[in-house]
Assembly symmetry: C3
Homo-oligomer: 192 residues x 3
């Protein structure tokens, strides 16, 4: 600012007018730079189906590998991909019922079509293995190594009474405002 003030005192009228336009452009450019999408990808993982969750993690790890900041916001059935075991103690009646009927971990996730009590999911896993395609568990590990943020939805968690010991480590906790904070700055937003 000192430089500019100093400069302005020696300016001709024309130079002063040019300087004014320049300063206004600089301001608008800063505003644009701030408000434009950043190198970010934000996903809502709502689904609890193995096939859809696989798709979400393939996009997430792919984007992270390309240098994007990636956030995955897990809500409702999406919690299935974060669970490691089932805990019933400390849950209310409806929460217990829901816990018993939900998959207790990634290995128990169904597929969205042709599941036939888990045969479909096993089939998909076997077909992926035959082709050396990363399993969901591998992809989750990869996502964490690549710094993908895994955010567990507070509201779903509260409603379903999910406890820390049921979930994998290193999760963040957040509400819809957390999701939106990232999503509003993102180039790609998907609801899976």
């Amino acid at each position: 600012m000192v430089t500019r003030q100093a400069t302005q005192s020696h300016m001709t009228e024309t130079e002063g007018l040019l300087e004014e336009r320049l300063a206004s452009l600089e301001q608008r450019l800063v505003a644009l730079e701030e408000s434009q999408p950043k190198d970010r990808v934000s996903l809502v993982v709502f689904s609890g189906d193995l096939d859809r969750i696989l798709a979400a993690f393939v996009v997430a790890t792919g984007a992270a590998a390309l240098g994007q900041e990636v956030s995955m916001f897990f809500t409702f059935w999406g919690y299935g991909s974060l669970r490691t075991k089932r805990v019933l103690a400390g849950k209310g009646f409806l929460q217990k019922l829901m816990a018993v009927m939900s998959p207790s971990g990634t290995q128990a996730l169904p597929v969205s079509k042709l599941n036939f009590f888990g045969i479909g999911a096993k089939m998909l896993r076997a077909m992926m293995k035959q082709k050396n395609v990363s399993s969901l568990e591998d992809l989750i590990g990869m996502a964490r190594e690549l710094g993908v943020r895994l955010i567990a939805c507070e509201m779903s968690r509260d409603v379903m009474g999910i406890q820390d010991e049921e979930l994998i480590d290193g999760l963040e906790s957040g509400g819809v405002a957390s999701f939106l904070a990232d999503a509003l700055k993102s180039r790609v937003t998907l609801f899976v």
Copy 2:
């Protein structure tokens, strides 16, 4: 423009060249400002499942509360969240059949998993109430108070023969071009 013309006549050659570059920058900046995403969120609500529709309204009201302009475009099964009653008169045979098999209002919406003829949906509603989480009906009211645009897809409506009296008040009507007009200016776009 008068000022600029006047100025240019007194400009040195260098000043004239600088002015030219400045004018071109100004033009490009205006173009950028116009084409860059606005503070908008656009959702397609395709699903007719209580759980997915809840997620859509949580995102919509959350975004509106953060000052975003929010549009929700309801199509296909998504009409379930806009219906208040079932009218059969004036519908063709297939339209009647579809109306009878579709939920007649938000209270009749199923959940996407473990629905068991509506028990799952009732369970979810009870669990939400226990935790003082807003019901779908509350969220719809909130969305309207916050100025969220609720757009009913003309094509679906025409195909399913849905009539005004079956729907909640204050809906806009629009085609895919309406959705795209908003979505192309949005920071976040989701298909729920």
Copy 3:
């Protein structure tokens, strides 16, 4: 550059300072222009349900008609919209089983709700015809005429053992990086 060098030698100190700021603005503007979203729409078509696929093609053709560059990335069940017949030769056991249980073409696609072994899909098609709404087959044709890029996911294809002769002509092949390359430049991204 020659012009600018020549100019600078005749510049006053003030002009030189203005020129410096101008040059830095130009650079930042180019960066912004490059990184800002382009007139593009990118869709992941994951679903194999007639109703959801219809929605994807309505958005895709609508966007293309508005002058957007549109990419559709077909993965998992989404392959159902690209298949023209079922080929079992050359497939492994699990791949054969999956092929037999999957729709062999667009006419065999189910709807996501009230399908009742295909009756729901036939009903939807009949209702659309009554209202002169384009069929899925028409929309696919339109998408191709409008230059929509149809990209078949390599990984899904490999896992399911899908062969060229089973698919419609003129498809591109790509992985998640292909999808992201387009999606990261897009104004609208949806997961259907």
